[in-house]
Symmetry: C3
Subunit: 158 residues, 3 copies
Amino acid sequence: MTDLQDLCFAIAQAQAAQARCLDDDRLEDWPDFFAEDCLYRVTSAENMREGYEASLIFLNSKGMVRDRVSALRTANIYERQAYRHVLGQPSILSREGESVSTETSFMIARIMRDGKTDLFATGRYLDVWLRAGTGVTLVSRVVVCDSSRIDTLLALPL
Amino acid sequence: MTDLQDLCFAIAQAQAAQARCLDDDRLEDWPDFFAEDCLYRVTSAENMREGYEASLIFLNSKGMVRDRVSALRTANIYERQAYRHVLGQPSILSREGESVSTETSFMIARIMRDGKTDLFATGRYLDVWLRAGTGVTLVSRVVVCDSSRIDTLLALPL
Amino acid sequence: MTDLQDLCFAIAQAQAAQARCLDDDRLEDWPDFFAEDCLYRVTSAENMREGYEASLIFLNSKGMVRDRVSALRTANIYERQAYRHVLGQPSILSREGESVSTETSFMIARIMRDGKTDLFATGRYLDVWLRAGTGVTLVSRVVVCDSSRIDTLLALPL
């Protein structure tokens, strides 16, 4: 089991680092967690259940991930806010060669400029990771939000 | 320490899988996490403190766990809702042969059909696990809710 | 990577034990997690960003940590309440000899006597740990709350 544990540890560390990157507003570092050919998609549990392709955010290359960050910094207007992610243990769903699929539950609190804090989003990350040295790179992340209410409020990536 | 880490990893994986089973509404798979002779009990911190035996849910065999799931599917009427569990790291409390006791903090968000999300329950799992091959089986889970307000709202197992 | 994993495991176990100590109202045991020469400080993300030294709580020895507990038990008046901590995976930030710095995200729910539960605080622990045998001792903890609203409500340590 040791090898699986190593992998799970590396994934949990990468997930924690990525979440901190968003929570600390270091958005410019966020694309570095992704592989060049990657997918980042935000959808809802209902969309997943019904098989709808609709996404709240859909980025399918590292370039698009970078563009999204630029847009957030320059074009988009939204009230200043911060997130706080808390993630569960990643569950290893499957593994094929150097590629590993995991599912990880999350809760995200949102802190508004005036200090008001609420439970903003809950859901799960469906991730595909590629082993890279002693670490891992994110090939694909589908963020499945439990609630369908989230769309109009979504500024920062989850 | 390695053996303890192996055990802790196996328990955290089992807890995450079990929580996902509830969160994904795959209730029929939930009994499989339990041993044949098992206990599943939901109570409150106040009841525990006062030594009251009262439980909000009390199931003391795998058969009763299965019956509970059937009842939820057929008889009980409750508004459609989903949970999202996020669990802390399991603390190993004690260990005797193949049997291990752990305590694990949890937060559970509840997502109503209309998307409204609230922090539904917090508390801790007092678990007893039996090592089974490279994994673990749940012999006993006492769910201790921090709040005593929870009873009337409780439909799904926590 | 194994040695890093051992360390991370020991830290996560110590953090979980310390959080349970607060959540179970076993405040008298809380100082035992600290080294004799230690720092415990609570501040806000805004204070950190602006470089302000101001702290909501500032304790710079184990004796002061003990005094704080005594004060809570005898002098301070606050409505009875309990916390529930849920922590993310500790991220190892740096390591020098036997000393390790970590950052760990947290959410803390507060449960009032009447059972009312809310998301009380979110933030991150900036910790420095010293390896001690197979375990770790806390040399320094800076609790950085995401919100600046927290001060007037703060009775128990976070």
